[in-house]
C-alpha cells in the first residue's frame, strides 16, 4: 500500500514539476504554491478563463494597494 501511494505521490510530484515548467515557459508568473492551488481549483471545475481573470485582477489590485501603501508611508 505504502509503496503504491508513494509511487502515486511521486507521479503527482512529477506532474506538478512538468506543469511548473510549462508555467515558467509561458511566463505566467505563478509559483509552485499558487500553481498547486490552481490545480485544485481546476479539478473542482472552476472555469479556467474565470480563474485567470480573477488572478489577473487580484494581481492588479494588490499592486495598486502596495503602491498606495508605499506612497502613504
Amino acid at each position: 500500500m505504502a509503496s503504491a501511494a508513494n509511487a502515486n505521490l511521486n507521479a503527482v510530484r512529477e506532474t506538478m514539476d512538468v506543469l511548473l515548467e510549462i508555467s515558467r515557459l509561458l511566463n505566467t508568473g505563478l509559483d509552485m504554491e499558487s500553481l498547486s492551488i490552481c490545480v485544485r481549483l481546476c479539478e473542482q471545475g472552476i472555469n479556467p478563463e474565470a480563474l485567470s481573470a480573477v488572478i489577473k485582477e487580484l494581481r492588479k489590485a494588490s499592486e495598486t494597494l502596495k503602491a498606495s501603501e508605499n506612497s502613504t508611508n
Binding site: 508513494n6 515548467e21 481549483l41 488572478i55 506612497s71
Partner: protein
Amino acid sequence: MAHWTAFEKETERETKRLIGCLSGVEDEEDQNFQLALKFAWSNFRFHRFLDVDSHKVQRSINGIYEKLMVQSDVSKAESWMSLTEEFLNSPLPNTDGAKTDAHYSLVSLLLFLSDSPSNTNFTERPRIKEAEAKDNFDWARYLMEGEDIDDGPYPDTPEWSEESEDEDSQQPISREDSGIQLDRTPQDDQDNNNKTVPVTWTVGEPGARAWLEQNVVTPYWVAHAPRFPHSLHLHSNLLNVWDQHLYNTDPLYLPEEKAFVTETQVIRETLWLLSGVKKHFIFQHHDGKVIVRNNVVVTHLTSNCLRSVLEHIAVYGQAVFRLQRFIDEVTGYSSEPCPPSSGSSHGGTKKASEPPFRTYQAFVWALNKYFTSFKEELTTIEREIICNDETVTLSAVLERLHPHLVQIKVLHKVFCTGVAEVPHETPNVVRASHLLNILYKAIIEYDSVGEASEQAVALLFSLWTETVRPYLEIVDEWIFYGHLFDPAKEFIIQRNKDVPVNHRDFWYATYTLYSVSETVDSEEKLSDAASGSSGGDPGSGSKQLTMVSFLKPVLKQIIMAGKSMQLLKNLDRKDREPAEKSCRDAERKSLYALFLESVQSRLCSQEDSPAEGVTEQQATRRSLIRMQSIIKQHLQIEDVHDPLLAINFARLYLEQSDFHERFSGGDFIVDRSSQAVTCQTFELTLRSCLYPHIQRRYIECCGNLMQTLKKDYRLLEYLQAMRNYFLLEAGDTMYDFYTSIFEKVQEKESWQQLSFLNVQLQEAVGQRYPEDSSRLSIFLENIDPARKKHPVNNLEVLTLSYKVPWPVDIVISSECQKIYNQVFLLLLQIKWAKYSLDTLRFSDFTDVTKKQEGAACEEPAQLHHDPDSAQHGSGVQHQVQEAKDLDQLIKIHYRYLATIHDRCLLREKVSFVKEAIMKVLNLVLIFSDRWQAGFGAWKIESIDKMESDFKNCHMFLVTILNKAVCRGSFPHLESLALSLMAGFEQC
C-alpha cells in the same frame, strides 16, 4: 451558508488560499480580503465563459509550437511540445486518467495567464524520473545566466551559456529568475550595463527598492527570493548532493522550501547579531530568545551542519542581546517601545523620580566599554568583507572572534547569576552586594584556572573595578565627610533618618548594616530592632552570603570611621580652621583614585621586590623575563591606568611568585594548588591597595574623635566625676551628703523629701565641685513594698543622677548610670550601717556585744574598699587613653563597670552572698535602733535571736567565702574572708 456542500467549502478554502498567496493579505477579516473573496466567488459562479474545449487547447498548443519554431527557438519549442505532451498524459492529484478536462483546463489557464512566452528566457530544467529526486537546482539556467557574473567572487564558475547579454538586460527586474547578483563588486559593475545607473534613489520611491535589489543585495529575506549564481564545483553543492542522497534513500523525504543564502550573508548577519542588531533574516528574536530560521541553507554545507554552527552563534547572539537589553534598560535608552512586562524585568528601568542605582550603572558602564571595543572588532571584520581583498569564511570569523565569544560567555554568566536571577522585588542593597560578590567570586574562580582564563580574569577585574566604584565613592564620602550619600539605598550600611546626630542613641541606632554574614561579630551588627526589620532581612532571599565580601575585612573600620566622621562633623571643633579644611579637600584624592593608583604602583613595583632566597642566576633570569614582559606590556598599552594592564602585571607577578616558590620551596610547593596562590594574590592585591587607605582613614578619624572627646568634651573628667559621686571617691563631699541623711534617720525624722535631699546634695557638691552641682540631682523612686520590710532597704528609693552632656553620654549612657547607681546604693547602705555603729557608745557593755560590733564593723569597711581596688586594678585610665575608637572606649568603660558590678556582688548568680551581707547590715541597723531606744527596752530573747542570726550569717559567709576564695572565684574578697574568719574564731 449552512447548506453549503463540502465541495463548495473546499473551493472556498482554496480560493482563500489563492487570494492570500497572490495578494499577500493573510488576515481573512481584512476588508480587502473579503472584497477579493466576493469578487472571486462571483467570477467563479457567474461567468459567461464557455467550457474548456480540448481541441481548442490543443490548437493553441500547436500554435505556440509553430510560433516558437518560426522564431528559431527550437529548444524552447521542443521543450514546449514535450512538456505539454507529458503533462496531458500524467496523473493529477485528484483526477484519474490522462487528458481529462482538468488537464486541458490547467493548460488553458496557463495559456490565459501567459505573458509573451517568446520573450522569456526559458531553459527546461532536467527532471529526474521516478524515484530519483527532484533537482533543486537548475544547472543549465545558471550556466546560461552566468554571463553577468564575472570571475570576481566565484572564480570556479565554468563555461558560460550562449545566451546573449541583451536578452538578459531586457529582463524585468521583478522576474523570478532575474539573476540579480549578490555582493556585486565594483569590477562587476564595470562590466555591467547597470553601471550607469545613478545612485539617486529615494526611500519609499517604488523604483528605489528595485534599484537597491539589483545593485546592492538580493532581497534574500523575502519569500521566493531569486537565487544567486554560484559555482558548479562539487564542493559548492554539497547541500544538493546530500539532498539527493536523502531523496534517494528516504521515500518519504520531501524537500522543503529553502531560503538560499551565501556564506558572506551568513557572516554578515552573524556580525550584526553580535553587534546587537535585532532584526535579522537568519536569526530570529522570539520572546527574548534568538533562534535560527529553519529553512536557511548555503549551497556548500548540509543544513544540519549549517544549523549547528548557527545555533552556536545564536547562543552568543542571545547573550549579547540580553546584555544589550540590560544596558538599554539601565541607561533608559530603548530603541523600541518595550512592553511593560519585559520593560522592567531587571529593575533597571526606573521612574524619573527614583534615584539612579549607581552600582548597576557602573556595571553597565563597564559592559558598555567592553561592547564598544567588541563592536570595533566586528566593524573591522565587516569592513574586510566589504573590501573583498581576502577570503573571509564563517569559521575563520568565528576563530577570530573566539576570545571575544569566550569573554561574552563569561559576561553573560556573571550577568545571569549576578543580575538576571535576582528576584524583582529585591532591595537595591542586596542586588548591589550580590553583583559585587558574584564578580568577586568569578574573579577568584577564573583565576584559579590559571593561564587558560587569563583574558577572562582581566575582563572581570576591569569589570569589578568599574562596578565597585560607586561603593568606594560612598565609603569615601562617608569616611571623609561623614556624609553617607546613598540615595538608591545600595550600600550595605544605611542611615536611619529618624535619629539625629546629636542624640544619645546616635552611636547605636543610626546605621543599619544589611546582609550581615555569619562570620561578622555580633558587636558589628548595628541594626537595632526597629531598623533591622525595616529591610535588612538578607537571609530570606537567599541563604548564601550576601555581605560584600571584599569589604568584610575592613567593614568595622569603615563603620567606625564613618560614624566617627559624622559625629566629628557635628561637634564644634575648635582646633581646625575651615579654610585649612577646604584646602586639604582640594588636594585630596578620592578613595577610588587612591585604590587605582595603589593597584598600579603595587603591580609595577613588584619587580623591585627583593628576591629572597633565590640565587643570583635565578634572579637575573627572573628580572630578564619580567623586563621583557613589562616592556611588551608598555608597548601594547599606552594608558597606564588601564586595569587590564594592572591585571596583567598581577599575572606577571603571580608567575614570578610561582617561579620563586618552585625554586626555593622544593617539592612541597609544587603540590600546592594554584588556587591558593592565585586567590591569595587577588586578596593580597586588595589588602595592599585598598585596605590600607581605609585603615589609615580609620585611624585618623577615630583618633581625631577620641582627641576631641577627651580634649574638647572632657570625657575623662566626666568619668572621674562618675567615680567621685557614684563610687564615693570624693569622700568628703559625699560624706557631707549622706551623714545629713543618716542623722535625720537616727532622729526619726522624715528624710524622704526630694527638696531636702537635693539641697543637701547641692550643698555638699557645691562647696568643692561647683561645676557639677547643676548636673547632679537625686530622685526618689517607689520601690517594691516586699523589699521594704528591712530597714536597710529603705535607702533603695534613692536614685542619683548625673546629667552627662552630649556627646559624652554616648559613653556614659543611662544604662551605665543605672549600674553606677546600684553600686552607689550598696555603698550607701554599708556607709549607713557603719555610721549607725560609729554613733553608738559601747563603754558600758558586755564583751559579746563588742565582739559583735567589731565583726560587723569590719565587713562594711572591707566591702567599701572593693570598688576602689577594682578600679585601680583594672588600669582603666590607661586603657581609656589608649582606646583607638569610640566603640573600644565604650567597651572599656562597660568592662570596667561590669567588673565593679561583679565585685560588689550585684550579680544575680551570687545574690545569696549579697543577701547574707544585707542581713548582717540589717542586724546592725536593728541593733543600733534598739540601742538608741534604750537598754531597758531590750529583752534577753531578742538579744539571743539577734546573736544567733548574726552567727548564722557570719558562719554562712565564712563558709561561702572560704570556699570561693579557695576556688579562686573571688580573689578580691580574700581579705574579707580572712578577717571574717578571724572574727569567727574570736567568737
